[in-house]
C-alpha cells in the first residue's frame, strides 16, 4: 500500500472537501428536487419517502461511478489521496453527488410494499453501477494500450 505524506496544508484539504461536497450536494439537490416553477418553490423529495424507484438517483449514481472510476484510474489516481484536486472532485463533488444511504432508504421503503421489487431495484442499481465502473476500467485499459 503506497503511503503519501500530504504536501498541502490541512486548511487547503478541508476547503477542497467542503467546496466539492457543497457543489456535489447542490447538484444532487437540483437533480432530485421537485421544482414547482409556477409556485416558485422547490422541495427535496427524499427517495425513501417516495416509495418508488427514482430513476434520477439511479442515473446520478451510475454516472458518478463511471466518472469517479475513470478519474481514479487516470493521473488523478496516481497522485496523493490528499491532493486538493483529487479531494475536490472525487471525495467532494462526486462523493456529494452520489449517495448510498438514499438508495438504501429507497429500497427499505419499497421493501415494506413489495420485497421482490426491492430486490430487483437493488440488484439493478448495484449492477448498473458495477457495470459503469467496469466499463470505465475497460475503456481506460484500451486507452492505455493505444497510447
Amino acid at each position: 500500500m503506497p503511503t503519501f505524506e500530504p504536501a498541502h496544508s490541512l486548511l487547503v484539504r478541508l476547503l477542497a472537501v467542503l467546496g466539492g461536497g457543497f457543489l456535489g450536494g447542490a447538484l444532487r439537490y437540483v437533480i432530485l428536487a421537485d421544482f414547482s416553477l409556477a409556485a416558485g418553490t422547490s422541495s427535496y423529495k427524499p427517495a425513501s419517502l417516495a416509495n418508488s424507484l427514482d430513476v434520477r438517483l439511479l442515473m446520478i449514481n451510475t454516472v458518478g461511478v463511471f466518472i469517479a472510476t475513470w478519474l481514479l484510474l487516470g493521473r488523478m489516481g496516481n497522485s496523493s489521496p490528499d491532493a486538493p484536486g483529487r479531494l475536490f472532485w472525487t471525495t467532494g463533488v462526486l462523493g456529494g453527488l452520489t449517495t448510498y444511504s438514499s438508495l438504501i432508504g429507497e429500497l427499505g421503503a419499497i421493501w415494506g410494499q413489495n420485497r421482490g421489487v426491492a430486490v430487483l431495484i437493488g440488484a439493478l442499481s448495484v449492477g448498473a453501477a458495477c457495470g459503469a465502473g467496469l466499463l470505465a476500467y475497460r475503456i481506460h485499459q484500451r486507452v492505455e494500450r493505444g497510447s
Partner: protein
C-alpha cells in the same frame, strides 16, 4: 438549497476524516473507511425513517454526503488495479450487504 449543500459538505468532511483516520491511525486502506461510513450513513437513514416525524431533508443531505456510491465502486477498482484484489472484491461485495443490514438495524432500534 444552501442548507442542503452545506449539510452535504459536512457529510463529505466526516467521510474524509474517517478515511484519514483509517490510513494514519489504524493503518488500513481507505476503502475500508468508505465501507464503514457507508454502513453508518445507511444506519442513520434507517433510524430517521422509523423515528423521525419531521422533515428528514437535512439528514438525507448529511448522510448523502457521508455515504458515497462512487467511492464504493471506484475505490475498489483503484485498489484492484494496484494489486489489492482481495480487499477490492471483499469491499465491493460486502458494501451493499452491510449497508442493507445497517439500515435494517437502524430501522428496528
Amino acid at each position: 438549497m444552501l442548507a442542503f449543500s452545506a449539510f452535504c459538505a459536512l457529510g463529505c468532511l466526516v467521510r474524509y476524516a474517517a478515511e484519514v483516520f483509517a490510513g494514519r491511525a489504524i493503518r488500513v486502506q481507505r476503502l475500508w473507511a468508505t465501507l464503514a461510513v457507508n454502513a453508518l450513513g445507511s444506519m442513520t437513514v434507517g433510524l430517521a425513517s422509523s423515528h423521525l416525524t419531521n422533515d428528514p431533508t437535512l439528514i438525507l443531505a448529511f448522510c448523502g454526503g457521508m455515504t458515497s456510491f462512487s467511492a464504493a465502486i471506484a475505490a475498489p477498482a483503484h485498489a484492484w488495479r494496484d494489486g489489492s484484489r482481495r480487499s477490492a472484491m471483499v469491499v465491493l461485495i460486502t458494501t451493499p450487504l452491510l449497508c442493507i443490514s445497517a439500515y435494517a438495524l437502524g430501522a428496528t432500534l
